[in-house]
């Protein structure tokens, strides 16, 4: 039993380091002057895309557990969710610090005028609400409502994709790939699809 515990701790530790590693890599690139003439924008964009990856990974865990029954997926769900929140927060910090240079008046004007910033802020607020209620105490307190609340993750993903969509200037290729993955993950939540996932696993196992 203790051996099993240690194994899961190692798994969670590995996931932690894997989520941390890109931040260290990008920071190092900036430190080495290898991030181009606009290092702030480099961090902003990479951390933004990184956050989207984490969001998609977090949302893929439930379908993956259903498909494989491997316990490890469920064990990292909270951690990846919190990493998504951390990346999103850093993304906003990069924008405020490195793009606006902490010019708060400009930030105020931008937030009101630019729909993609409003949408991004809404997504971040949603993620913050999920992060704040991700501990056991909140789960106990919210009871059944916790699950309902955390279904907010789906509209949040849609907001993130919309935020990204409005930033793209001329080539939708990259966006379309993320949107397709996101749509697939959301489709797996539709009851008729969700019901079939475990059955699909059994069919695969039978073969």
């Amino acid at each position: 039993m203790a051996k099993q515990e240690a194994k899961w701790r190692l798994w969670r530790g590995t996931v932690f380091l894997a989520a941390l590693a890109p931040l260290i890599y990008w920071g190092f690139q900036v430190y080495q002057n290898a991030a181009g003439p606009e290092p702030g924008r480099y961090l902003l964009l990479n951390i933004g895309i990184g956050g989207l990856w984490l969001m998609l990974l977090t949302l893929s865990l439930t379908p993956l557990s259903k498909l494989t029954r491997w316990k490890g997926f469920a064990l990292i769900r909270r951690q990846l969710g919190l990493w998504t929140l951390a990346y999103a927060t850093l993304h906003l910090c990069c924008y405020a610090l490195f793009i606006l240079g902490l010019n708060w008046a400009l930030l105020g004007a931008e937030i009101v005028k630019r729909p993609y910033i409003i949408v991004g802020m809404l997504a971040l607020l949603g993620l913050a609400a999920l992060g704040a209620t991700s501990n056991r105490a909140a789960m106990r307190k919210l009871g059944k409502r916790w699950k309902t609340l955390h279904k907010l993750a789906y509209p949040i993903l849609a907001l993130i994709l919309l935020h990204f969509f409005w930033v793209v200037r001329a080539d939708m290729g990259e966006w379309a790939i993320y949107a397709a993955i996101g749509a697939l993950l959301l489709a797996m939540r539709l009851p008729p699809v969700a019901r079939r996932l475990p059955r699909f696993r059994q069919r695969l196992a039978a073969k």
Binding site: P37, E38, G40, L97, A109, R114, P115, Y116, D171
Partner: protein, 338 residues
């Protein structure tokens, strides 16, 4: 006209357009010729030692020869302390050239696949002297000049870049436009084999990339066709071998890797206008008072910057070339003609 023989560093952007030119549009075309003559007497100092750390390219012999005879520092910023040159590695490593991908470093990584030799340019439309010209025949009749310009991208960043090129007015005069010619239309090469961005099925741009200028904008002495920068020929990612540079307009007007120049009667529809007419217009003059629908144009980040000093500076009307070009737009509502 006053011809002052100045030290190369003393010539500023305002000197390129004497009052007599920009005060009267009627005398405009006549004035341009005088500007060229005036400038030819000034700065003859070779500036190649200024670019010792710039990697040399692989220019054909005729182009190297033309570059050697460049009139260096023909136009320099009025305030060289504020407008310091971007390092070559930034100007050639941070580009928007969607034919090679949408990332800023895509062009420098992928533009090696572009073959610029041989290159020919078609001049057609409302001209008496049209035809297909080799790049050498097209460019060598003109004196090369070094023009240090601010480049303001519509994405709210800017760099200061030393171009080498020829006045577009020279080229147009040689083409001998007919009386019907009102606009100039430019076209970039289309070749998906050489330009991977043109192979993307999600690209929103309808290739070829097209740009346009009103004839008087095209004839303005600040408008050049560049063949080089930083004392050498253009790197591919910067629009080799021939690109437009219109310093008072957003960077996307300065079309790259030009294969066709047409004098036309109707106002051309440029690529970005076609793609998002509510965001990009035909004129695209740098204007801090007219925001892009998705971001403010009131300030810009002068690059290179660093993490904790984004180098946000106020954007200037017509990118600081207001004295020279404002007359072109007298009486126009620039918030409508954005």
């Amino acid at each position: 006209m006053l011809i002052k023989i100045a030290k190369p560093g003393d010539l500023h952007e305002s000197d390129v357009t004497p009052e007599s030119v920009y005060l009267s549009r009627r005398r405009f075309l006549g004035g341009v010729a005088g500007v060229g003559a005036g400038l030819a007497l000034s700065g003859r100092v070779k500036a190649s030692e200024a670019y010792t750390d710039v990697p040399s390219g692989d220019a054909p012999a005729w182009l190297s020869e033309k570059i050697d005879q460049t009139q260096w520092r023909a136009v320099t910023p009025a305030d060289p302390d504020k407008d310091t040159l971007a390092p070559f590695e930034d100007a050639s490593g941070y580009n928007n050239f969607y034919e090679f991908g949408t990332g800023k470093s895509d062009p420098s990584k992928r533009a090696g696949s572009l073959s610029t030799e041989p290159w020919s340019v078609v001049v057609d439309g409302e001209v008496n002297n049209g035809g297909r010209f080799t790049l050498e025949d097209f460019a060598s009749p003109s004196q090369f000049e070094e023009r240090i310009y601010r480049l303001r991208c519509v994405e709210a960043w800017s760099m200061v870049i030393p171009w080498l090129g020829i006045p577009l007015a020279d080229v147009i005069r040689r083409a001998d436009p007919t009386s019907k010619a009102k606009y100039v239309r430019f076209e970039t090469l289309v070749d998906p084999e050489q330009m991977p961005g043109q192979r993307s099925s999600f690209a929103l741009i309808d290739w070829p990339y097209v740009e346009g200028l009103r004839l008087d904008e095209a004839m303005h002495p600040l408008t050049i066709l560049a063949l080089g920068m930083y004392g050498r020929e253009l790197p591919n990612q910067n629009g080799a071998p021939l690109r437009l540079v219109v310093p008072w307009k957003y960077g996307f007007k300065s079309i790259k890797s030009i294969v066709r120049i047409s004098l036309v009667e109707e106002q051309p529809v440029n690529s970005w206008q076609l793609l998002a007419p509510n965001e990009y217009g035909f004129y695209a003059n740098v204007n801090p008072n007219v925001d892009h629908p998705r971001w403010s144009q009131a300030s810009e980040r002068r690059l290179p910057n660093s993490l904790f000093s984004p180098n946000n500076i106020d954007t200037r009307m017509f990118n600081g070339y207001e004295d020279e070009v404002a007359e072109l737009y007298a009486g126009m509502d620039l918030s409508v003609n954005y």
